[in-house]
């Protein structure tokens, strides 16, 4: 590991050195001069940030890339072998036989496909709803934002109690009024993921609502007035003024919510433990690396996720940024 870290460091230093050297040469050409003392202070000021970023951001990324092609095991760090694409072959085999990875991909896909439109739609509705000057708007906004304030861990545990199949569980005790038997919602193979979707959208949408709200205030009022004069209905106003005005906000929110949804992990981890019907990609990756100690295989999953998320994000950027 130390050798890897050193070589990465040397590579980074070399890249930096060339950029710096080019700068110095350029400066000479244009007869500018760098003040030595100023450069020294600048490098000293950058040092803590660079050191921390190197250790905790750059190294994990590079290691993750490198481990993906090895059989690295957490307990035998010195017994490391380069095995080429074998990890990926193993992963595809796992998908082929419908193993855990297959379920993880399906569950993550369900989660992303449901939560992204639901959360963004809900946030947009709430933002439009609170985008008027009436008494009490602020109270409503505070209510919508409350779930954001309590952390993901707390909300997960809270919803475990809400969905609990015992007498104090909120939902089951409501249903028991109608004479229904208590249901263990999170153990239902078909619907457990949907409860996690609901809970996540419920928890997160207040945050996006605020961002939408600040986007809405940036749309000029006279546009709406002009449209009213031309006899446009409220739906037309929404379609032709509000939505285009929110374009950049929408792009930002879509990408952040999408990337966040792809990484979903805490909710299934705390709400159901490692179960086939709720395991997600990130959770599978974590379990492989931390639970089964197969760091190499886990890094291969991470690499695949990075590539897929990166491509989809790029497409979203291109699609939403046009005009």
């Amino acid at each position: 590991m130390l050798i890897g870290a050193l070589s990465v460091f040397i590579a980074m230093a070399a890249a930096f050195g060339t950029v710096a050297a080019v700068d110095v040469v350029k400066a000479k050409k244009y007869k500018e001069r760098y003040r030595i003392r100023e450069c020294g202070t600048a490098y000293l000021m950058l040092l803590p940030a660079v050191a921390l970023a190197f250790i905790f951001i750059v190294l994990p990324i590079v290691y993750s890339l490198g481990y993906a092609f090895t059989d690295f095991h957490m307990y035998y760090p010195n017994d490391i072998k380069f095995i080429g694409l074998d990890n990926f072959k193993e992963l595809f085999r796992e998908i082929g036989v419908k193993g855990e990875l297959y379920h993880a991909i399906i569950n993550t896909a369900i989660f992303v496909v449901c939560v992204v439109p639901l959360q963004i739609g809900l946030a947009l509705v709430l933002a439009l709803f609170t985008n008027r000057k009436k008494k009490g708007v602020k109270i409503f906004k505070v209510c919508f934002f409350t779930p954001v304030v309590i952390s993901l861990t707390v909300t997960s545990f809270l919803w475990v109690q809400i969905l609990a199949p015992n007498a104090s569980g909120l939902l089951n005790s409501f249903l028991s009024v109608f004479g229904a038997e208590p249901i263990d919602f999170l153990a239902q193979e078909k619907t457990a993921m949907l409860w996690i979707v609901l809970m996540s959208a419920w928890q997160g949408c207040g945050y996006q609502m605020l961002i939408f709200s600040s986007g809405l205030t940036n749309i000029r009022d006279d546009l709406y007035e002009a449209a009213s004069l031309d006899g446009a209905g409220s739906w037309q106003k929404f379609l032709h003024i509000t939505l285009p005005g929110l374009r950049s906000t929408l792009l930002y929110i879509t990408i952040t919510v999408f990337v966040g949804a792809c990484r979903v992990m805490i909710q299934p981890m705390l709400m159901t433990d490692y179960k086939l019907h709720t395991v997600t990609l990130s959770y599978y990756m974590y379990q492989l690396g931390y639970g089964s100690k197969l760091v190499g295989l886990s890094s291969a999953v991470a690499l695949m996720m990075t590539v897929v998320i990166g491509i989809i994000t790029l497409l979203q950027r291109k699609f939403l940024k046009e005009d």
């Binding site: 930096f16 400066a27 600048a42 209510c143 809400i162 931390y290 890094s299």
Partner: protein
């Protein structure tokens, strides 16, 4: 005086308008919808608060609307779950840990990222482009860092063990590329005149940073501090991975899981621990509202 006249003015204004039946109906519908929406978001939280004050028996027996109210028959045990969580389960120790980690992380975060932002935005040195490129790259590209290699770095490469494991929890939250980016954005808006005046007086760059730049940047410093606190307080997985062998050093979020697994824990006690965990963040949101909204504004910068 001004208040009353304003109020009167407002009243006359509404009275002057022709009463419009349809508009009034719409307003009523709007309020009803708002109330329903709000209930949807707030009821689970009220349920959490209510159950946290009940014994297991009362929580099991409550039906219908009573689920959202404390047990009025037994108000003398209102805080018994809380006292148990604090004394028997010792959650105050973990809360204290969380506060300490957050304090250290906030100070380091501002110093480390602020200094880097200052150097990049105000000083002239060869190789500056290298840093700006890396910062933009790391901000835009969604890298699935995978927490596992990070764990390997801390345990194997740095070899942090025993008490030093705390460093592995705190240090990663001291660096934030996005915060560097925020600082650069803000510092670029500070006119160079301030600095030149100080330089003529013979102040060093470091002194300028602490006595001029930082005081001028209070809004951004506050925003970074608030978000850093929320981040550290709400972090669950990372401290959990590192500190499992050292329960005494665990932050509060990680200990929630431990409380869930205690033999014979009641629903009320679990809820009480959840409430205790949420209170500091709630207070922060109320006190630092201004800076949090500013943070949202700067979130848009990211694109």
């Amino acid at each position: 005086m001004t208040n009353t006249s304003y109020a009167i003015g407002a009243v006359t204004k509404t009275v002057n308008k022709p009463a419009n039946g349809k508009k009034k109906a719409l307003t009523v519908i709007w309020y009803v919808c708002g109330a329903l929406f709000s209930l949807l978001f707030i009821l689970p939280v009220i349920y959490m608060l209510a159950v946290s004050t009940k014994s297991q028996l009362a929580a099991d027996r409550a039906r219908g609307i009573a689920m959202f109210f404390p047990d009025f028959m037994n108000l003398n045990t209102f805080f018994s779950n809380y006292s148990k969580v604090f004394t028997a389960y010792g959650i105050w120790r973990n809360a204290l840990n969380s506060f300490m980690y957050a304090a250290v992380a906030i100070v380091c975060n501002i110093l480390v990222n602020g200094l880097a932002g200052y150097a990049i935005s105000k000083l002239n040195f060869p190789g500056k482009k290298f840093f700006t490129f890396i910062i933009l790259f790391l901000i835009i590209v969604p890298v699935e860092t995978s927490i596992i290699p990070m764990y390997m770095v801390v345990t194997e490469l740095l070899g942090l063990q025993d008490r030093a494991t705390v460093l592995g929890v705190i240090l990663p939250s001291c660096i934030s590329i996005f915060n560097i980016f925020l600082f650069i954005q803000f510092f670029q808006g500070i006119p160079g005149g301030y600095e030149e005046a100080a330089r003529i007086d013979g102040a060093s760059r470091l002194k300028i940073f602490f006595s001029i730049i930082l005081p001028l940047s209070k809004p951004i410093v506050a925003t970074v501090a608030v978000f850093c606190f929320i981040g550290v307080w709400n972090d669950y997985l990372w401290p959990m991975m590192l500190l499992t062998p050292y329960p005494n050093m665990m932050p509060i979020q990680a200990v929630l899981q431990t409380i869930q697994n205690i033999e014979g824990v009641t629903t009320g006690e679990i809820m009480a621990s959840l409430v205790v965990t949420s209170i500091p963040i709630f207070v922060i949101y109320v006190v630092a509202q201004k800076y949090i909204v500013q943070g949202f504004g700067s979130a848009g910068l990211k694109m």
